[in-house]
């Protein structure tokens, strides 16, 4: 699968334990009129190439804010954020947009596909902003859709796809620009348990092929499919541990009965 080989990430070829993400003493405040919300209170962490990290925490714990900063959608109030060894914490909006486009793939809870736009065109979207030429765009989009098992659904509209299929389109879209990291924000939040495991199986497969994945979830059993769990509370990382006895999602699926359609 040429989409995800390490040739796109020269750093990964030289050193196995290379940090893809590194945050140093990151703080984030929100000024809401008179009150000031301290969402992150000094976060330090490092995520290496090839890792599969689940971020957990209750709502208000700061995990979403952290995710937004990792995704270059937001800037830290103070502290540094290194992505591929580049400090992006003070980049301009346009530079952040470029980084989001080239280095980060997003998967959201609500899928966030463009309606009345085919799966193929949805997946093509990031390549459009990367100013890749038409032929290559289409090839990449079809490759990415095939990778998530939707090679036969390229011309379907989101409304014609099931939730799991829509999420797979979203994953294909996240992968199409060969990002350094895949960020997934509650990717299984809107899915039933069997489909959730299916999605996790795709993540595990992609991770096995070398993709770095960071996933936000509040479901403990979903987090177990990752290799490492970070737990947020009150704006700080309270727990950082490796997952023991990680289940293989592809095997777990077989233990979940299919839901009867009624």
């Amino acid at each position: 699968m040429d989409l995800l080989t390490k040739e796109n990430n020269p750093a990964a070829q030289s050193k196995g334990g290379e940090a893809v993400l590194r945050v140093v003493d990151v703080h984030k405040y929100y000024d809401l009129g008179e009150t000031r919300v301290h969402a992150l209170r000094g976060v330090n962490s490092q995520i290496n190439r090839g890792e599969f990290v689940a971020i957990m925490g209750a709502s208000g714990s700061g995990k979403s804010t952290f995710m937004n900063i990792l995704g270059c959608l937001d800037k830290p109030t103070s502290g540094q954020y290194f992505l591929d060894d580049i400090d992006v914490s003070q980049h301009s909006k346009a530079e952040l947009a470029l980084i989001r486009n080239r280095k980060i793939g997003f998967v959201f809870q609500g899928f966030n596909l463009l309606s009345r736009t085919t799966a193929l065109e949805n997946v093509e979207l990031p390549t459009l902003y990367a100013r890749i030429e038409k032929k290559e765009r289409e090839k990449r989009a079809i490759d990415a859709l095939t990778l998530v098992g939707l090679g036969d659904r390229v011309h379907h509209f989101p409304s014609q796809l099931s939730g799991g299929q829509q999420q797979r389109v979203a994953i294909a879209r996240a992968l199409v620009n060969k990002p350094a990291i895949l960020l997934a924000d509650e990717p299984t939040g809107n899915l039933d348990s069997r489909t959730s495991v299916e999605i996790m199986a795709i993540f595990q497969k992609l991770n096995d092929e070398g993709l770095t994945i960071v996933l936000v979830t509040h479901e403990h059993d979903i987090a177990q499919f990752a290799k490492r769990n970070l737990v947020f509370r009150d704006g700080k990382i309270r727990k950082d541990e490796l997952v023991k006895d990680r289940p293989v999602a592809a095997e777990v699926i077989n233990t979940i009965p299919e839901l009867d359609e009624d």
Partner: protein
């Protein structure tokens, strides 16, 4: 993102709300159509003025009786009784640049033929009049000098009068009655159409009789309403004007500082004035029509603002996957421009169509100039950019996190 892709996205977004997009475009269609049709009407009128002046010749002068000043009360033009045949003879004799001159006095009268009647202006003049005004006879002939000497009851009808009194028969040789006097129709004038400016009266709604007949048998006046003169050339007409003014002041014994009891009008000046006024008319029509174009632009702005709000989430998605502010701004700006340019294109077709309709239905000359069309295209594009800018800016300024959260 390449232009073709943006264009495709814009077209698809617009196609999604067909009714809304068409109604929004309608504002621009009407605006552009109105500008083209109205400027066409204005320019057509101006062209007509210029043509008429060219046909009439800019070497024509008109001397009219002036206003009376009676113990401070001044009446309008045409009230003095001092302009007489003697003045006309003197001008012909003493002003060398004047080539021809004809008296022109008129009165409103009803002309009756059998059971038909038509109210018009009956003008008393001499055969020279047709020459000065370059007004050929279409049927029959003009009355002669001897008709004038004898104060004969002969009449030359304007084409409108002829058409109304004699819908089916040839008027030449028939007898009509004017103020209960029988007149023999000797000729019918060719059609001159509406007077310069397109808004004036019908020049063909008139009838000509010998000046002597008018003065002696109808009005009983001894003075003239006016004199039509032609100078050797346009340049000579200015010299002639000055000389005529001097001559008539002498003849009418007007002292220094006293008001003239006559006026001299030079067609070259009138032409310039009418040309100017028809140009103003064009600008006026154009600017009134432009207002509707601006209203159309506001419509675009309005609908684009709605669209930005509706598509907040889409904007968030696009930003999350790497669209820059510039990308988003361009996308919405191009949507607005597509709306306005498409509307403009349809508006051009509509405007040209309306111009033809005006020409055919109202009989006005309408001149659609390529300049007006090109201007309309750029103007509508400008409207799109101008009124699309703010909504596009608003879209580009959205915070991606907020936009993604927007329901």
């Amino acid at each position: 993102m390449d232009f073709v892709s943006i264009l495709r996205i814009a077209l698809r977004a617009l196609a999604r709300n067909k009714l809304r997009s068409s109604l929004t475009m309608l504002g621009i269609i009407i605006g552009v159509g109105a500008v083209i049709a109205m400027v066409g009407v204005g320019q057509g009128a101006r062209k007509q003025v210029q043509d008429q002046i060219a046909a009439m010749g800019s070497n024509i002068l008109f001397v009219g009786s002036g206003s009376v000043n009676k113990s401070g009360m001044r009446t309008g033009f045409g009230q003095t009784k001092t302009l007489v045949q003697g003045d006309l003879d003197a001008i012909l004799r003493e002003v060398p640049t004047v080539v021809a001159a004809a008296p022109s006095s008129g009165t409103g009268a009803q002309i009756v033929y059998e059971n038909q009647n038509w109210s018009t202006r009956v003008n008393g003049t001499t055969p020279a009049y047709f020459e000065v005004r370059v007004w050929p006879i279409q049927k029959g002939a003009a009355f002669s000098e001897s008709d004038v000497e004898q104060a004969a009851n002969v009449i030359v009808l304007g084409s409108t009068v002829a058409k109304n009194l004699f819908p089916d028969v040839d008027p030449v040789g028939k007898t009509v009655r004017v103020k209960n006097l029988p007149f023999k129709v000797v000729g019918v004038l060719s059609s001159k159409g509406y007077s310069a400016g397109g808004m004036g009266g019908d020049q063909d709604d008139t009838a000509m009789i010998p000046i002597t007949t008018l003065m002696k048998k109808i009005t009983g006046d001894t003075w003239l309403g006016g004199i039509m003169l032609s100078a050797a050339s346009k340049e000579a007409s200015y010299a002639a004007q000055t000389q005529i003014e001097g001559l008539l002041r002498d003849r009418h014994r007007i002292r220094q500082g006293q008001d003239d009891d006559f006026f001299v009008r030079n067609m070259a000046d009138v032409a310039a004035l009418q040309d100017q006024s028809s140009a103003v008319f064009t600008y006026l029509l154009g600017s009134v029509a432009s207002v509707s174009l601006i209203v159309g632009g506001i419509g675009i702005m309005n609908i684009m603002l709605v669209s930005v709000t509706e598509r907040t989430r889409e904007i968030g998605i696009r930003m999350a996957i790497g669209a820059t502010e510039a990308d988003v701004q361009r996308q919405f700006l191009i949507e607005a421009v597509v709306l306005s340019v498409l509307g403009g294109a349809i508006g051009i077709v509509g405007g040209v169509g309306a111009s033809f309709a005006i020409t055919n239905l109202l009989g006005w000359a309408v001149l659609v100039s390529p300049v007006a069309i090109i201007t309309a295209v750029f103007f509508s594009m400008g409207v799109g950019v101008f009124f699309g800018y703010y909504p596009a800016r608003k879209a580009a300024r959205l915070d991606p996190i907020e936009a993604l959260r927007y329901e």
